[in-house]
Amino acid sequence: MIKIQNVHKSFGPLKVLKGIDLTVEKGEVVTVIGGSGSGKSTLLTCINGLEPIDTGRILVDGTEVHARTTDLNRLRQNIGIVFQQWNAFPHLTVLENVTLAPRKVLGIGKAEAEAIAEKQLRHVGLGEKLSTFPSRLSGGQQQRMAIARALAMSPDYMLFDEVTSALDPQLVGEVLETLKMLAEEGMTMICVTHEMAFARDVSDRVAYFHKGIMAEIGAPEQIFGDPQHPETRAFLASVR
């Protein structure tokens, strides 16, 4: 369970998060929508401790992420994150991209790590590309590789930060299909996205962020069918 309690976060004078409260249960899929600068991507990087927070608490399975004593390297093994820019490691093959962390971080042997990686890569439809270098892959394929790379650590949680925003339109579908598959398999996910149809389809709950606050959260039918907050209404009208 991920528990976010009254989290405030600023970059210099700019207040990005102004008191966020959100609890995500095991197996739940929560999508976060909202305009740019609403703080939704920042929230994800706070959850895995890549960014410090000013006040408040974030608990992952009871471990306080920003406590001084928390072993962040260990915590991150359990929280996969995939970014808008997929950040493939260009000097490694697709297979090596995926085996690197299991081998060096978890200390798994080469053969076993390769078996895990191969399974994850087949899962995202890259079984034929194991010995290819990322530069030979399309954006959509690189993004799916990044997803397999995160999954190879067998995390309990996956965070997706606008993973289709940097892709050519015709490549968006394949990546969303992969996310949908994960959601159906019961992965606990928080997805920041601009894909409204996707949010409506896969989410258990949809949160609408506006200027650093969570203006509204609810079932997708409610958020998309009967938004309560005037800002949610205005936002949804603008993206339709």
Binding site: N48, N73, I81, Q85, L100, P134
Partner: protein, 221 residues
């Protein structure tokens, strides 16, 4: 024409000795390069570190290495430290001087290479649970070495040529030292140094070709 009679045979008879010297030259150059690369990586880490004194040490090293003559650096490694009672053999002093120079220049090359690697690469590694050092070792370092490979080859050539400065600290086993001693014995100055020049050229060519072969094997992407 200038009243000088070429006597190539006399000079060529000394070729085996010069080839022995060439081997020593290559030995010094390669050792100084290997240790220099290791030190340059260390200097790069120091410069990236948050600790001010560590950064200052690294920056000082790079500044001195790049902005003083190589001859000064080798001199200091021999006669300079001797003032404090530390005595190195000419071989060791030459090795220290060139290594110091290599490390400084290479660290600067590495710094440039790091700028070409996006910050997000480290971030991606960290979010997979890697420590800062693991992310550097497995993600940043291989890319950094590849980007700076050509400048590294240049430095290797420069290291070979810098060995000729060893004569100033009494080094006589390397190619230049051997040539100078033979010249004192035979006075076939032009012939001997011409041969030395050809040998220097051959050594640097062998090294750049070797580097290219290594690069082709190492850099697969």
């Amino acid at each position: 024409m200038f009243g000088y009679t070429f006597q190539w045979n006399q000079a060529l008879a000394r070729l085996p000795k010069m080839l022995d010297g060439a081997l020593v030259t290559m030995e010094v150059a390669m050792l100084s390069m290997l240790i220099g690369i290791a030190l340059a990586i260390l200097l790069t880490l120091l410069r990236l570190s948050g600790a001010r004194p560590l950064r200052a040490i690294a920056t000082g090293w790079v500044e001195i290495a790049r902005n003083t003559p190589a001859l000064f650096q080798i001199y200091m490694a021999h006669f300079g430290v001797a003032s404090f009672g530390i005595h190195f053999s000419p071989f060791v002093s030459l090795l220290i001087g060139i290594t110091f120079n290599n490390a400084g220049y290479l660290a600067e090359n590495f710094r440039g290479a790091l700028k070409a690697i996006p910050e997000t690469q480290t971030r991606a590694g960290r979010s997979l649970g890697m420590s800062q050092l693991q992310a550097f070792r497995y993600i940043i370092l291989p890319q950094m070495l590849r980007i700076s490979f050509l400048p590294m080859t240049n430095q290797m050539v420069w290291a070979v040529l810098m060995t000729s400065l060893g004569v100033t600290v009494g080094m006589n086993a390397d190619l230049y030292g051997v040539t100078q001693d033979l010249n004192a014995l035979t006075f076939r100055t032009f012939e001997l140094f011409a041969i030395a020049g050809v040998l220097f050229y051959a050594i640097t060519k062998i090294i750049t070709l070797g580097a290219r072969v290594i690069a082709a094997r190492l850099f697969r992407y």
